[in-house]
Symmetry: C2
Subunit: 341 residues, 2 copies
């Protein structure tokens, strides 16, 4: 029988987590007081603003427990919060982890989740400074609050895109959506965990380094991450900025893996690229003369593609897509709505 | 049929919440960017450190949905976070609310919860700056992250009590525990919601104003709130400070309401005062010559009692209680363990 929460109790588990965080984590800068008092305490840095975001991952809703191991679940939960800080141009600093756990959750699983959290935080020299544990009768949840910092004047918002700006997208949005489809269609005895699209779904990569670099350089007019899918988040950006967008289908990035999986699943690959998907890529808008500069900057960081996919237009145009035959059609900005259906 | 989340969708609900927060909330100072982007942003104040805490309230675990209305549930969830900031000597500034909601949760209930959050935040000129909504299949949860600030050098920790210090307690710990007992023993057709102890359980009062005043004055050596009960949190304070404690039973504060309810429930009132209870009072330690100063300071704020209940001793003594007959007995620091039993 694996050791469970019922065996060690809340304070026993807190003690185990503290030791793991001290052993495997890094010490974040300017922390006055970490885990262990009524609140954590840190001293902000002159010349910086603070960014704060929270995102929650719920068993059965945002992940399938039989298809993801606890360490990857931890990585994924932290990556999507890091993505939000990066999409503002910020640097992650401190995380608080609120866990809802079942009485029979193995302690080893909780520790593996923390290893996942730390593997995403350590590269930023960010640390876990607090949190909360509670028993949740019916299903685990992981609610993370992440604090970051950004130099005053360097933050990039989603609400500041301008007509005439170019629209860029990093990576291959839609891969996570098809990864999830592959898992849902898998036979009981099939292990798809190493398929690149399943990896894209279970352990998505944030683009926080990229977002930070773009913000530092000052080349972007607006930025958002694609947690609701390309069209959904482009829709948020357009609505908040009071603009429209024209996308060119032929310019949308489509990976070979995605084309292959689309054929296998009998799906339109562009539906995956544009629709709901948990990829955490960045949509960046910029003045046309900065496209090359942003591309060069991001290419200097890694080999992930940066695609110029369209142009910011008038709000009255809404979001439209030019098809390969030259015709243009209006798109619904169908993002990920947690309560729809 | 009341309007539900399934009717308005996630983004519809977010829009409703934003409008309510703008209408009923106050604008917190130094906020660069509130609800509506990938992260919120604020500019910290020179000379201050930032405090951050999170606490989660789960349906069926921390509250009984049939016994508390949504607005009181909101108040209670926020009060316990405010209590944590106050117990460090801090001033609440910004809250992030992460809600796990059921598909059939009435929108009116969610709005009432937000009114409850705001009724606790507004007196501090603190505001809601972000959050997250997710569907939770089996039971509602409210996870709040609260940020506060404290002047550099003024924070009060739980780990700095010294042998010989006096131990003070605010209010009447244990009232919430008996309030819960009254609810659990109530007949199906009885409404106990206005009983003072039930009020103490459902809408506990934080002591953040008191905690802040004590910290500003610099009179305390250590401080903690009683979210785990008097003995439980005194145990945390002693463990972190490396000290013991001697309590005098006759000095423990026992309200008339608590005595009456104890008789009704056939319970020892001191078991309630010392044991697990969700009261959010403050345990304060100080040098003996500062007892009168702290009492005067807190009496100038309100009429809540401040009781000197014992003395900080050597760690090797553990926590002991002197009974009315003059004998002294060792106490187990039995706090609230979420996974015990």
């Amino acid at each position: 029988m694996p050791e469970t929460l019922a065996d060690v109790g809340e304070f026993g588990l807190i003690d185990r987590i503290n030791k793991l965080v001290q052993r495997e984590g890094v010490e974040a800068p300017r922390l006055s007081l970490g885990i262990g008092d009524d609140a954590a305490c840190f001293r902000p840095q002159d010349g910086y603003e603070l960014l704060i975001t929270c995102d929650c991952v719920v068993e059965g809703r945002h992940y399938l427990p039989k298809h993801i191991d606890p360490q990857d679940l931890g990585r994924r939960s932290m990556a999507l919060n890091i993505s939000d800080i990066g999409a503002m141009g910020g640097q992650p600093l401190y995380a608080l982890i609120s866990l809802g756990l079942k009485n029979d959750t193995p302690i080893a699983d909780v520790e593996a989740m923390y290893l996942g959290f730390l593997s995403e935080l350590n590269p930023f020299e960010a640390s876990i400074i607090g949190g909360n544990l509670t028993k949740s009768g019916n299903g685990l949840f992981i609610d993370i609050t992440l604090i970051g910092e950004v130099e005053i004047g360097k933050m990039i918002r989603r609400s500041t895109a301008k007509k005439g700006d170019a629209i860029l997208i990093t990576g291959y949005p839609g891969q996570a959506a098809l990864g999830l489809e592959l898992l849902l269609h898998a036979g009981a005895d099939e292990d798809w965990s190493d398929h690149p699209l399943v990896r894209a779904y279970n352990t998505p990569t944030h683009r926080a380094w990229e977002g930070r670099a773009v913000a530092q350089a000052g080349y972007a007019t607006a930025m958002i991450d694609t947690s609701d899918g390309l069209l959904g988040d482009l829709g948020h950006l357009c609505e908040e900025s009071g603009v429209g967008a024209l996308l060119i289908q032929e310019k949308l990035p489509v990976s070979d893996d995605l084309i292959e999986a689309s054929e296998q699943l009998d799906k339109d690959p562009y539906h995956a690229v544009l629709g709901e998907s948990d990829d955490y890529e960045l949509i960046i808008t910029c003045e046309p003369e900065n496209v090359g500069r942003i591309r060069d900057l991001l290419n200097s960081l890694n080999k992930n593609p940066v695609s110029e996919v369209g142009t910011v237009t008038d709000a009255s145009d809404g979001i439209r897509l030019t098809l390969p035959d030259g015709t243009t059609q209006a798109m619904a900005s169908s993002g990920w709505d947690h309560f729809a259906k």
